[in-house]
């Protein structure tokens, strides 16, 4: 038991989790119709990638990976702000958030 607790979590578990998160994001992006859900799937993909960055940074004792993660988080925050504003504008214009029905540039 103590041996189990004292043991480190293997690297592959992190990577597998990261891949699962990313795949969930991709699947959600492809399957979901709601624009906001799609938006959230994008965040999921970004965080899946973040996790693998952190993992490798820890593995190789390189701080660069963690810096990357901060960058990604910062960009994601900005993106969330802009993206949500666009989504609101789209909703006001078309009264729908179903991407299948938002397939024209012009109204």
């Amino acid at each position: 038991m103590s041996s189990f607790l004292s043991q480190e979590v293997p690297l592959s578990w992190y990577l597998i989790l990261s891949a699962i998160l990313f795949s969930l994001g991709v699947a959600g992006f492809l399957i979901k119709r709601n624009l906001i859900t799609i938006f959230m799937s994008i965040e999921l993909m970004l965080n899946g990638v973040n996790l693998s960055f952190v993992t490798f940074a820890h593995q190789w004792h390189a701080v660069k990976g963690q810096i990357f993660v901060f960058f990604v988080m910062m960009v994601a925050a900005a993106e969330a702000a802009v993206g949500l504003a666009i989504i609101i504008a789209v909703f006001r214009a078309r009264a729908t958030l179903a991407v299948d029905r938002i397939d024209r540039m012009k109204l």
Binding site: V26, F29, L30, R33, I38, V99, D100, I102, D103, R104, M105
Partner: protein
């Protein structure tokens, strides 16, 4: 010392007039356009006169290896542009002008008659909208014509040669809204191109065989080596003759000249009677050394000239358009000039060129005055009785008709007589040429008096028209030209030939029997008198015939037409030459253009290729546009599929490597 005449001024002045009137003419007031247009040719006429005065006052010297002394002027005076024009390995061509006796005579005609016709045009074109355009073209013509005349080598001459063709095209098609005028311009241009091919080939052959295009150098090389005889020289001479036949409207390329009458009448007088069409004669005289070395080519020139003379004269017998009668008469008279060249009597040909320029310009301008006063009517059958209404025009036309018919003492008598006299003493075939020439003189007299009777005599056939005499700007030139037509012949063939001797009378070895020089030939007075009397008698006979047909028995022409319907039809339809060319040249060419060039090449190959390229792009677009659905999730799916494909491609080598590793491992394990 070579005195400088500043020959470049002669062409450049009309060119300045062309530029000013061509660019600014529309915005300038009319009086300014007129003064520029008249000043340019007058100034260049003045320069020519000055050259002539200088040449005479210093006493021109013929330079044949003599040492130049200061103060004297030598008359082949060459002035070359200081910059070389073409410099291709061994071939040097300069832009050079040459003033000698021949070009001096020609320049006096071109600028003198040209100026008179400019003056006349002021009255004639007064009401025309394209007044400035007309004068800019006319000045352009004078520019190119003087370049042609002054040319010191064949290439400079060719520049002028093509340029006058362009000016002629522009002026024939002056009333370009009229389809017939535009077509006539194109016809003239295209037929002239055929002749120009001859000129070009002749130039290529000259470069290939003599290595130069300068007239004096060619003459020198021919003179050095008596071996030049026939062969390639004949080919060059015949090619030059083809060019001359195109420009001077000789058989078989004369067809453009009658149609060229679509242009304004002063243009017909200047370009299509007095100056441009004589360029061919001038060119043959200029290159006479080549012809002198090829008796065959000379014979061809003589035969073409004679045949054209009588051919055109017979057509002129039955034409009813006053300008067309004159056009065929011009072709016929040009035939005389070529006959003169063909019997090596170049001075006689140039003499006839000069007198013809005055009386034919006179006749055309008089015809223009008639047409002008009748409000554009050109049909002889609707004229008549004009002598009372247009006394001045009537008087000058009478002078012109007497001159062209060859009555003593008018200008035409002397020059035509000189040509016929030379022909008579030219070998064995000369008698035949002379006979045809005299017969043509009879026809000439007949159709000119026919015109005279139909237009001016009898009673008016259109009483509703009230003609009025033209303004003085038109009558002035007419009177001056009439005086020239009366007195011009008195220069005399002997004085002309002595004057031209240095230019065209170079004694050529081995061509003694073909060389005919009036200055060295002792005139046989009795022969000359007999031949002259025969010629005048023929002219008189023509007059009497015309008098009988068109005054005493007006029913006679119609009777003749019914008695000889075949001949009459042949003549009225101008021997069906236009139809013949239409069937043999124009139709096949059009068919070739339509079926081969249009259908096969244009529609089939070019159109097909364009259609196929367009089709491919269209098809690809039709397929690819389905991608651009606008559906976000489909884009995302393609993106994911792409990423998956990329991954797969990266993984395949890994997978195969892994598989082979596994197989080895299994194989080892199996042991």
């Amino acid at each position: 010392m070579n005195y400088s005449f500043h020959l470049w001024l002669i062409p450049i002045l009309p060119f300045a007039g062309f530029l000013i009137n061509g660019i600014l003419g529309r915005r300038l007031p009319k009086w300014l356009v007129t003064s520029f247009a008249l000043l340019a040719p007058f100034a260049s006429f003045f320069v020519v006169l000055d050259c002539a005065r200088l040449a005479y006052s210093y006493g021109y010297t013929v330079c044949k290896g003599c040492v130049a002394t200061s103060g004297s002027i030598f008359l082949p005076n060459v002035e070359t542009c200081p910059l070389p024009w073409l410099n291709i390995s061994a071939l040097h061509i300069d832009f050079s002008f040459v003033l000698d006796q021949l070009s001096l005579v020609m320049l006096l005609v071109v600028t003198g008659v040209g100026f008179l016709i400019h003056v006349y045009s002021v009255g004639y074109m007064n009401d025309d909208e394209g007044y400035a355009r007309y004068f800019s073209y006319l000045n352009l013509f004078l520019f190119f014509m003087t370049v042609l005349v002054l040319a010191g080598n064949a290439l400079v001459m060719f520049v002028g040669w093509e340029g006058v063709g362009l000016a002629s095209y522009l002026l024939i098609g002056f009333y370009f809204q009229k389809k017939s005028a535009a077509d006539a311009g194109k016809k003239a241009f295209i037929v002239n191109r055929i002749g120009d091919v001859g000129f070009l080939i002749a130039m290529f052959l000259l470069v290939a065989n003599f290595g130069t295009l300068t007239f004096t150098e060619i003459a020198a090389k021919l003179g050095q080596d008596p071996g030049w005889q026939g062969g390639v020289v004949t080919v060059i001479a015949l090619c030059l003759m083809l060019g001359a036949a195109g420009k001077s409207a000789q058989l078989p390329l004369y067809i453009w000249l009658p149609d060229a009458m679509e242009g304004p009448t002063p243009v017909s007088a200047l370009i299509h009677a007095a100056t441009m069409v004589t360029a061919g004669v001038y060119m043959v005289a200029r290159t006479h050394v080549l012809f002198a070395h090829s008796p065959f080519a000379l014979g061809v020139v003589a035969v073409i000239g004679t045949a054209t003379a009588i051919f055109a004269a017979t057509i002129a017998l039955v034409q009813n358009d006053i300008k067309r009668v004159l056009a065929y008469s011009t072709i016929s008279q040009l035939g005389y000039m070529f006959l003169g060249c063909g019997v090596a009597a170049y001075s006689a040909a140039i003499f006839h060129l000069v007198t013809h320029a005055s009386f034919k310009a006179l006749l055309f301008l008089a015809a223009g005055a008639v047409i002008h006063s009748l409000g554009g009517e050109q049909d002889l059958r609707k004229m008549g009785g004009l002598w009372r209404k247009l006394p001045v025009t009537f008087a000058v036309t009478t002078v012109g008709v007497l001159a062209i018919s060859g009555f003593w003492p008018f200008a035409g008598f002397f020059s035509k007589d000189a040509i016929l006299y030379a022909a008579f003493f030219h070998g064995t075939g000369g008698k035949l040429l002379w006979f045809v020439g005299v017969l043509t003189a009879l026809l000439t007299s007949f159709y000119m008096f026919r015109l005279w009777y139909m237009a001016f005599m009898g009673e008016s056939r259109s009483p509703e028209i009230h003609p009025h005499e033209s303004p003085w700007s038109m009558r002035g030139p007419l009177v001056i030209l009439a005086l020239l037509s009366i007195g011009g012949g008195w220069i005399g063939i002997q004085r002309i030939s002595v004057f031209l001797e240095p230019s065209v009378g170079v004694i050529v070895p081995d061509a003694g029997s073909y060389h005919f020089s009036f200055s060295t030939y002792h005139f046989s007075l009795s022969w000359e008198l007999i031949l002259s009397i025969v010629a005048v008698f023929m002219a008189l006979e023509g007059w009497l015939l015309a008098d009988k047909f068109y005054r005493r028995k007006p029913a006679r022409p119609a009777q003749c037409a019914t008695v000889l319907p075949g001949t009459y039809n042949l003549l009225v339809n101008k021997y069906f030459v236009d139809e013949f060319y239409g069937a043999t040249v124009v139709k096949p060419l059009l068919a070739f253009s339509k079926y081969i060039l249009e259908w096969v090449v244009e529609i089939g190959i070019l159109g097909g290729a364009a259609w196929m390229l367009g089709g491919i792009a269209n098809f690809a677009g039709a397929i690819l546009q389905r991608w651009q659905s606008g559906n976000l999730r489909s884009y995302a799916a393609w993106l994911a599929a792409g990423a998956a494909a990329l991954l797969l491609f990266l993984l395949v080598p890994w997978a195969t490597a892994l598989a082979s590793l596994g197989a080895i491992h299994l194989g080892v394990a199996g042991h």
